[in-house]
Amino acid sequence: MDFLTGVAQWFTSSANWSGPDGIVVRAISQVELSAAVIAAAIIIGVGIGFALGHFGRGGFVAVNAANAARAVPSLALLTLLVTWPVISLKGSGFYASFLALVALAIPPILTNAYVAMRGVDAELIEAAKAVGMSSWQRFIRVEVPLAAPLAVAGVRTAAVEVVATSTLAAYVTFNDLGDFIFAGLATNDAVESFSGALLVAGLAGCTDLAFLGLYRLVRPASFRSTPAVSRVATRSRTAVA
């Protein structure tokens, strides 16, 4: 009970919230880092995944990218980049963290985007061809809206992973919520590390919920934007589910 009282006191102490090493500043910098990473990973991962899916090429690489990347320990990638003099700790660890996290986030996004694009009902693509759509129109007006929900599901997985792993950025001097955990572990301050862990877990949970919201938003939107195929699409979707 003493321990939990300590944690409660830690959270109610205004000194822990304000200042350059406070919760607010550190939470913002962690969100900024994660947002930059996710944005970059979406552009690269969805771009390549959709393109490969649309043209039906590189399937083996695209499908196995996520599995192969899972085996790469993020800690090793992060520390390796820091040890590389070109990157080192430039930007207070931002560049090394950014690159390591982007490398971590691209594969699951790419794999899901590819699978989503390949999963678009072949009959719908035939129908789009039949009504005279060009390859580009088909891509933008049929394939992308229908592939969006599954692609967003991949982004959600990656986003939670990125926020989780951005905690490690604190180990390479990036000033984020992970600092509370590392500082607490280094000084045997169990209250500080526990409180930091609560904050990090909360941030990961919020990220998960935010992308769940986006996922739900994208689902109906994909039907609204292509009313002509909505009925067929609904039927094929329920068959899949």
């Binding site: 085996a71 320990p73 390796l80 989780a164 180990y171 955990i181 169990a190 990090v200 990961a204």
Partner: protein, 224 residues
């Protein structure tokens, strides 16, 4: 700090360092494999009965998957620290409870997917052949779920091998310790050794289950 100087003057892979520290590296690999093995074993022992429960009593499914999903969302470093007050500071139990926690969602979901493959026709056939409910489970439904279970074991093993490196921050870590040593010395070689050996362990774990599946799930070969 002499660190950066050392890094620029040392070759990418310093074999002398590797030879001099072969014993330490070997121990790290052994600890890494052990931490992974225990986590997968315990994860499997918990996941199978839990998945059967969720399958048999459908109303428990959402709660079980929800709890496992919540565990899976908590960042690994945070989870180690959060359970420490209960499981002991820097203890093996802390490392293992968290690692097992991450296997649960993957394994339970895959067993359930596999069990769901038992369609109505399969169930009717099992009943028609005179299987008792328990007999049908052990002789029909569960064997049908094995390919999906093995797929889950492969993903879980690769995931856990990666997560074990993070336990270095609670004084375990296997190859994670080697990686951290490299970081502290600003020295590539230990980091690359940790990276390569950890990926090798993941590949070996993955291959082990591919082979085990070939041996156990014999009917698959006939299909293929």
């Amino acid at each position: 700090m002499f660190g950066p100087l050392l890094a620029s003057s040392s070759p990418f892979i310093d074999w002398t360092w590797i030879r001099a520290n072969a014993g330490v590296i070997g121990n790290a690999v052994a600890q890494h494999a052990e931490l992974t093995g225990i986590a997968i074993g315990c994860g499997l022992a918990i996941s199978i009965p839990t998945a059967l429960l969720a399958w048999r009593f459908h109303w428990t499914r959402a709660a079980i998957l929800g709890f496992a999903g919540l565990l899976y969302t908590i960042p690994s470093l945070a989870l180690f620290v959060l359970i420490q007050p209960l499981t002991g500071y820097f203890s093996l139990l802390t490392a293992e409870v968290a690692l097992v926690g991450y296997t649960l969602l993957i394994l339970i979901r895959n067993v359930l997917t596999g069990l769901d493959a038992a369609t109505d026709e399969v169930r009717e056939a099992a009943i028609a052949m005179g299987y008792t409910p328990t007999g049908a489970m052990t002789r029909v439904y569960f064997p049908l779920a094995l390919p999906s279970l093995f797929a889950g074991l492969r993903v879980a093993t690769v995931t856990v091998v990666g997560l074990v490196t993070i336990t270095a921050f609670i004084e375990w870590g296997g190859l994670g310790q080697v990686i951290i040593t490299g970081f502290n010395l600003y020295f590539y070689t230990p980091i690359i050794v940790g990276l390569v050996l950890s990926m090798a362990l993941a590949a070996i774990g993955d291959a082990t289950f591919v082979i085990l599946e070939r041996i156990i799930v014999k009917w698959r070969r006939v299909e293929a």
